[in-house]
């Protein structure tokens, strides 16, 4: 099933693509040309139109205007089946695999090429043949649920290719992958284009785009900004094209000798499976400083945020906020003491998606005198509070009465972050606050944290992105297997030493 030798024509020429959703213009006359045998990166902020454009080319949406020419023939796809028949296939962020079925079964499910009468043996043999041909391997007898995310993605790619796709669109494929898996995926992408196929790589991660692509098209606000060769492009230049403005976050670090807002002494706790997740942690956050917690995910950072905010009981030790002992206090008491929490899973823990925006806005404040008298909610005050928060957080929503789940992910995140900043008068715990955000939104959140710090609150920033920790923090704590391995002032922090500590190498890190 080798890709046919490409002619002189381009793989795809889309021109003047326009699409609006309910009055909002998502794409405004966008052109995109894909050559055979290239990795073409589609770069842009959230909402720039990358996914919409891809969905139109892959036959999922229909454009309001514009033409799509595939291999020299104009098409008007009405559904994805027509696009795949023309050789265009898309792998979505959320996989469409049947978890209890085997890899071989998933590859054949719904495919017109599947023989009418099959046995497990035939399916596995056919799957093996396909994998050999494409040079992409996954155990064909394994069930989907047994596979890692990276392997599942590989099955999705195999499935799309087995339908005859010669243009493969990958929608933010690295968002769900570990660094190693992302690296493997890039190898697969290079291999596919070497065989003459075309890969469209949608991303907002500049480093990845620079690493793997041949050409780059930048979209901004539904418009085409530029298409250029990757050679010679810089991250900074691309960021400017994506955001339309050059902004560099300027953080001045400082040493604070003020009084402690948060003091953890000998804190230990178990995780949800009953295993020790924190052991003997000592940590101080003072008013007016950002303390960054560096570490590989899963080394107790989540539990650390949970014990401080009253969501997880302590096994031992004490927690003090502004001199008041809040060891094992309730989440409500801790919030009342002025501790806000931007949780790691903002949408799963910090929000009620089915409830209107206004209910989510007051989730932490509905018991204040402003919003309720005894048991009675002041309904107009609730709406006013919500409208204020929505305006301050620049959340885009039709009204505060629409369900929060109908807003885009970025807006949901902004709502939660600003609400928690209001709660955190004294201390703000921010767990991976910029994860999944694009360049502009990341800077917004980072500026908000710095503003909080400059107002005199303490900020505890938990992040597995060492660059972010180094950029933002006045002091840095390193966590490994539930322990705080070291504490540095920003000035003395050394990337190599922190890296060693994150990997648990204490002796080497402190060797002279």
């Amino acid at each position: 099933m080798n890709a046919e030798a490409p002619g002189a024509q381009n793989a795809v020429e889309a021109s003047g693509i326009t699409k609006s959703f309910g009055g909002a213009l998502a794409l405004d006359g966008v052109d995109l040309t894909l050559a055979w045998g290239e990795v073409h990166a589609l770069l842009g902020e959230n909402g720039a139109g990358k996914t919409t454009l891809s969905n139109i080319i892959a036959g999922i949406y229909r454009a309001d205007a514009g033409r799509v020419v595939v291999d020299g023939v104009e098409h008007q796809f009405r559904n994805p089946a027509q696009a795949i028949a023309a050789g265009i296939g898309m792998v979505h962020q959320h996989f469409r695999l049947v978890a209890p079925m085997s890899v071989a079964e998933n590859l054949h499910l719904g495919s017109p090429q599947t023989p009418r009468l099959v046995t497990e043996k035939i399916l596995v043999a056919r799957a093996r043949a396909l994998m050999d041909e494409l040079g992409l391997h996954v155990d064909p007898t394994a069930k989907i649920w047994q596979l890692s995310v990276g392997e599942q993605q590989r099955v999705e790619i195999l499935r799309v290719l087995s339908r005859g796709a010669r243009v493969l669109i990958l929608d933010e494929p690295t968002a769900v992958l570990t660094a190693q898996e992302a690296h493997d995926l890039f190898g697969v992408m290079r291999q596919l284009v070497a065989a003459g196929r075309t890969v469209v790589f949608i991303s907002h991660k500049l480093n990845e785009v620079l690493e793997v692509s041949d050409r780059i098209t930048v979209l901004r606000g539904g418009r085409h900004v530029v298409t250029r060769d990757t050679a010679g492009a810089t991250a900074r230049g691309l960021a400017r094209l994506m955001t339309g403005e050059e902004r560099e976050l300027d953080v001045t670090h400082r040493r604070i000798d003020g009084s402690a807002v948060l003091t953890l002494a000998g804190v230990s706790a178990r995780n949800s499976r009953g295993l020790i997740a924190l052991s003997q942690c000592d940590l101080v956050v003072r008013g007016g400083e950002i303390v960054g917690v560096a570490g590989v995910s899963g080394n107790g950072q989540t539990e650390l945020a949970e014990v401080i905010t009253g969501l997880r009981p302590l096994e031992g030790g004490t927690i003090t906020v502004d001199g008041t002992d809040l060891t094992n206090a309730s989440a409500r008491q801790i919030a009342a003491a002025g501790v806000g929490h931007i949780p790691e899973d903002r949408i799963g823990v910090g929000m009620v998606s089915s409830a209107p925006v206004k209910d989510n806005a007051v989730l932490r404040h509905y018991r204040t005198d402003e919003l309720s008298a005894g048991k009675q909610l002041k309904r107009t005050a609730v709406v006013r509070f919500a409208e204020r928060l929505v305006a301050a957080a620049r959340v885009q929503t039709r009204s505060v009465h629409t369900p929060a789940g109908q807003m885009s992910g970025g807006n949901q995140q902004r709502l939660v972050a600003h609400r928690e900043a209001l709660v955190g008068r004294r201390l703000l715990i921010a767990a991976h606050p910029t994860r999944g955000l694009d360049v502009l939104a990341t800077q917004e959140v980072q500026s908000a944290l710095i503003a909080r710090r400059d107002d005199g609150a303490g900020v505890l920033l938990i992040s597995d992105d060492l660059d972010e920790v180094l950029l933002m923090s006045d002091r840095i704590a390193v966590m490994y297997e539930g322990r705080i391995m070291g504490m540095f002032d920003r000035g003395d922090a050394d990337r190599a030493r922190i890296g060693l500590l994150m990997g648990g190498h204490a002796e080497e890190a402190f060797a002279p």
Binding site: Q82, A331, A355, L363, R364, K375
Partner: protein, 358 residues
């Protein structure tokens, strides 16, 4: 060439949703009428009879309201738990236990009527709450599925009632078999009416109270938050397990009170058949109302009038099976209407030229 596609609506609209349910009920009645026509009966006469049975006389109206009382109360019990996404399938059992406990008071104590009734009501509500206590604790603290526990306790409650009415509380003085003696105090009939007892006020007042609680109280806000996302509720500082237990106890108490009111206002004596599936009817109403208390009130009265009309039609020679089939058609119509309100039809035109590409 045209094709029709169903597209999920982005927004839900309470008025559209209500209108579709009414349309669904009408469609159900039409289907039922068609079936009656095929079986060579005159659906118009029967519809007239059914209408007449309910609205043609004061007696019909009063009887419908009597049926509506336990259906509405049980429906409110289920609807309250549904706001928390908890399914109390055991309203029937709690109803029986409420009636059982109230009987215990009513047959052993002949004090002043108001006092006896008050104690019966308190004991009945407490018994209903007690009957859901174990499912509530199991659900709140160990995550045990309440659908199964509450459902199974229905059968236990029925056996307890049968044991009492055939055994230690069996009425040996009268000709009524398999029944406890009549209770000493009965709920009075509304002044000026012939049959309808004042217990009918209870579901109306309770509907108003719950409507207010969920519209403008922090208590309702917290329950809705738990129903929407229990993890977010815990994040906001709400003690979720305690709330689950309290709300489930409230639903049990409402169903228990329902049993006491039905006993002292209509049945007067306990027997195994005191609940003719009032729990199930209440459950259906609550599920179809989708968490709306006003919708529940309308739906409960409607189902009660259907049941009442059914009894009249049965007297006119229509078989029970046909009546049940008609109920089914109407309820199914409403359920379909509820789902249909969330979608809209999109008609698409396209020219065959593009189709040829396929």
């Amino acid at each position: 060439m045209n094709t029709i596609r169903f597209e999920r609506r982005a927004t839900s609209d309470a008025r559209r949703s209500a209108a579709f349910r009414v349309l669904g009920a009408v469609a159900g009645i039409l289907v039922a009428g068609l079936v009656l026509l095929i079986t060579s009966r005159n659906p118009f006469t029967l519809l007239g009879d059914a209408f007449d049975a309910n609205f043609g006389s004061q007696r019909g109206l009063e009887e419908t309201a009597i049926y509506a009382t336990p259906i509405l109360l049980n429906g409110l019990a289920v609807a309250l738990s549904l706001r928390m996404k908890i399914w109390n399938i055991g309203a029937d059992g709690q109803f029986l236990m409420g009636a059982w406990a109230a009987t215990g008071v009513g047959i052993h104590w002949a004090g002043p009527d108001p006092l006896v009734l008050l104690v019966m009501a308190l004991v009945g509500a407490a018994a209903g709450a007690a009957w859901i206590l174990i499912p509530a604790l199991a659900r709140a603290y160990w995550g045990v599925n309440e659908i199964i526990t509450t459902l199974l306790l229905n059968f236990v409650a029925l056996q307890l009632v049968l044991w009492a009415t055939l055994g230690f509380w069996r009425d040996t003085k009268s000709a009524v078999v398999q029944s406890a003696p009549p209770v000493s105090a009965n709920l009075p009939v509304f002044p000026g009416l012939d049959f309808l007892h004042i217990g009918f006020i209870a579901p109306l007042v309770l509907t108003a109270v719950l409507w207010w609680v969920f519209r403008s109280s922090t208590w309702g806000f917290e329950i809705d938050t738990i129903g929407g996302n229990p993890r977010a509720a815990a994040f906001a500082g709400i003690n979720v397990p305690v709330r689950i237990v309290l709300v489930m106890l409230c639903t049990g108490a409402i169903a228990g009170l329902s049993g006491m009111i039905h006993l002292s206002g209509y049945a007067f004596r306990l027997n195994g058949g005191i609940s003719t599936n009032y729990g199930l009817s209440g459950f259906i109403v609550a599920a179809l109302a989708g968490g709306s208390f006003i919708g529940l009130l309308v739906g409960g009265l409607f189902i009660a009038s259907m049941l009442h009309a059914g009894i009249t039609l049965q007297a006119k020679g229509l078989s029970t099976y046909i009546i049940l089939a008609i109920y089914g058609a109407i309820l199914l119509g409403i359920a379909i209407g509820e789902v249909a309100a969330r979608y809209r039809m999109v008609r698409e035109r396209y020219d065959p030229a593009t189709e040829a590409v396929r």
